[in-house]
């Protein structure tokens, strides 16, 4: 296990280095520059002054080197657009994204696995068809449209839920404010989990040991939930491992529509305004998150399925 962890750590460091290098060069080679230099009416002198101030006059490899040395000491630099510490800007937003991610994942796992099982055990019945139909709808309805429709219904017409923000004050307000964003995000993640659960469940319940369990006279409920599900969940865990980092890096559309101060908007604003330091900071954080999530998924794997343990 320790050897496995050390090997993974080494791989991760190389991966992070490669990702930052590619991002740094791509970002800096893209046409344009920091927005402060790209005002329509800025003069040549203003652009030159700002470029010097932001240290953009050095060649890109040298700037990457400087950035890397600082980053390894934990200094991600100052945001080119606001002058704040990059770390502060990310920390301001991250808890809100974490909040949405957590609820979305919890909701998606509970209902996704449940619907997946119902769908698989009632294959080709009206239950299965309804769930499949719902999944297709969930995946294909554009989230911005659904979001605006929900705002019009629940905020404008019924006045039950706030149309934007994270809710100030009481926990109830905060809960109410997160309902719509979580539901919208779940409409995209839930069907994925439903479909993975369904297909792996279908595969598992046709296997011999399930037939044996049934033949032994074990209750159908026990067969499905304790014998079949355990094995059927393995691919589901890996898909959750993919979904979590994706959610943690933010959901631009949902955040924009609901005025939710998450990571997605931060990333898009950073890229549009060529805030190189902020883009790099976010890249590092998101890469680390992906690596960590994958690592955790691998560990959970080995707990759920002991066969995985030796496969490092």
């Amino acid at each position: 296990m320790l050897q496995f962890a050390i090997k993974r750590l080494g791989q991760s460091i190389v991966l992070i280095l490669i990702v930052t290098m590619i991002t740094f060069f791509l970002m800096n080679l893209a046409p344009g520059g920091p927005s402060s230099m790209m005002r329509m009416d800025a003069t040549e002198e203003e652009r030159a002054a700002i470029s010097e101030q932001l240290g953009l006059d050095d060649p890109i490899p040298i700037r990457y080197g400087k950035w890397l040395i600082d980053a390894m000491q934990g200094d991600l630099g100052l945001s080119l657009s606001s002058g704040q510490e990059v770390t502060d800007r990310i920390l301001e937003r991250f808890p809100f994204t974490l909040q949405l991610t957590m609820w979305t994942i919890v909701l998606s796992i509970i209902f996704g696995v449940l619907f997946g099982i119902i769908s698989a055990t009632n294959r080709n019945t009206w239950k299965d068809h309804t769930i499949n139909f719902g999944s297709v709808i969930g995946l294909s309805v554009p989230s911005f449209w659904l979001a605006i429709m929900m705002i019009l219904l629940f905020s404008v017409q019924l006045k039950w839920l706030p149309s934007s923000g994270v809710g100030e004050g009481s926990l109830l307000d905060q809960f109410k404010a997160s309902i719509m964003p979580v539901v919208i995000l779940s409409t995209a993640t839930l069907p994925t989990i439903v479909r993975f659960t369904r297909s792996s469940m279908l595969e598992v319940i046709t296997q011999n040991y399930i037939r044996t369990s049934r033949a032994k006279g074990i209750k159908e409920r026990t067969v499905i939930y304790s014998h079949a599900l355990r094995n059927a969940l393995i691919p589901v865990i890996s898909i959750i491992g993919v979904l979590i980092p994706r959610l943690l890096s933010g959901a631009v559309i949902v955040e924009s529509v609901f005025g939710w101060p998450g990571m997605g908007r931060l990333i898009v604003e950073a890229a549009q305004s060529r805030d190189y330091n902020l883009v790099m900071g976010v890249t590092v954080i998101v890469t680390v998150l992906v690596v960590v999530c994958n690592f955790i998924v691998d560990i959970i794997y080995s707990k759920v399925d002991p066969r995985v343990k030796n496969m490092g």
Partner: protein
Amino acid sequence: MRKYILIAIVFFLAILSACASGNPDKKGTENAANGASKGEPKDGGEVFIPIVGDPIFNPWHPNAYAESNIVNRIIFQGLTKPGLDNLPSPSLAEEWSTSEDGLIWTFKLKQGVKWHDGEEFTAKDVAFTFNELVLDASLGSNGASNYKALDSVAVVDPYTVEFRLNRPFASLPAYLAFNSEILPAHKFEDVENPWELTSFNKEAPIGTGPFKFEKAISGQSVKVTRFDDFHNGKAHLDAVTFKILPDVNTQIAQALSNELDIFVLEDKSSLERVKSAENINLVSSDITRYFWIALDLENPKFQDVKVRQAMLHAIDRQAIIDSVLGGYGNIANAAITPDQEKFYKQDVTSYAYNPEKAKALLEEAGWKDSDGDGILDKNGEKFSFTFDIALQGDLESIAVLVQQYLKEAGFDVKLNTLEWNAMIQKNVIDRDFEMILNWWSYPSDPDVLAQYHSSNAQSGNNIPGYKSDTLDALLEKGQAVSDPDERAVVYNEIQEYMSENLPYLYLWYPQELSIRNKRLQDVPDIHFGGSLHYINEWWIQN
């Protein structure tokens, strides 16, 4: 199953409600006379205004964009502000005068003005703002290029400052009213890089305006509360909250549900829905902005003025105004906008939509379709070029129509869309384009030298690269005379010149359409940005 029936019902309701609110029931009327007061002003209440991003509380910061300007306008103040007649009126300065040679402007400052932290505002703050921030070329302050004529600001006594110029600059009082707010010197003492002073710029700004900073939550909101020691009549409102809402549909939904009070409706696609709302007044107003097409005037094809005139005759500008702008705009023939009543001249050369005339002008210039392929040619060369357009607001939908009209006239136009930032790099900095379409906004003053003078042709704001001694001389004269009546004569001549010679192809003066909740009272009937200078007079009718 029940769950799904429920979801289906919710969907159906959602669609219904969308249809219902999209259907204009003609109850709401477009009301431009919103400023009329309904009785005595009442104190109290909070107003909600949307902005699209986190503001920077420093008007001179290179990253202070539109969202920052809105907030800074009520926290800080300039020496002057735009009057309701659009001419500069007193704010932190009570009166001003200019020396005979126009090189020294003396401003008398208002006494007894307090910063939000209780310190007194004096001439020292004015001198600091200009000498240390604006005139320090290494800082690249936002808008510093507006003050190229300024050498220094001298403190005469605590309530008098002198602006010392290197050439006459009649527009100085108008420019001082435009995003040129004064900052407190005592907060910036011993600060090496003022743009990195986040304790001020992001966390706790101090101004002299009617509202003082309360709190900012990144990505969510900025709240300011009434400043009781405001020198120009305490505000009626208790507080103003700026909500950070990048999505225009959310903004409109919140306007309908009384969660937002006032903002500019940039996207006209929701116009009908807003018009039918009973809680909203729509106010249209002129702004100092014009849309234009710039042609690369180094390119011989575009150098013949007849070609440029023909292009304007070929474009049905009124049709584009009616469709894309929802009718809110007026055809432009020069650069001085109609809101500047003192200087605007309507009676200049104009170019009605007339494809026949376009064809005739092009033939005079030697361009005609000799091989019948639908594309103009001259000496074997086809008239084909690329039209670069930035992905921003309405620009793309406008460009598609313009391309269509030009094609009908025989130009082979290829459309090339660019992200905004990349467009600036390619078209403005590298000057790599054949045709572009964009707009200029400028302070309420007819001095448009920056966009037209030949000295700005290669790298400045004279994007088409137009060079004319006649126009240069007129623009310089406009800066040198300070008497408004004399200036009006000069700028009338400039507009005539522009409309005949078309340094840019003028498209239209857009009108700003703003949404105002009916509970808001005494908001002056001017554009939204201007009305913020009078926010201390706003009040809420219950």
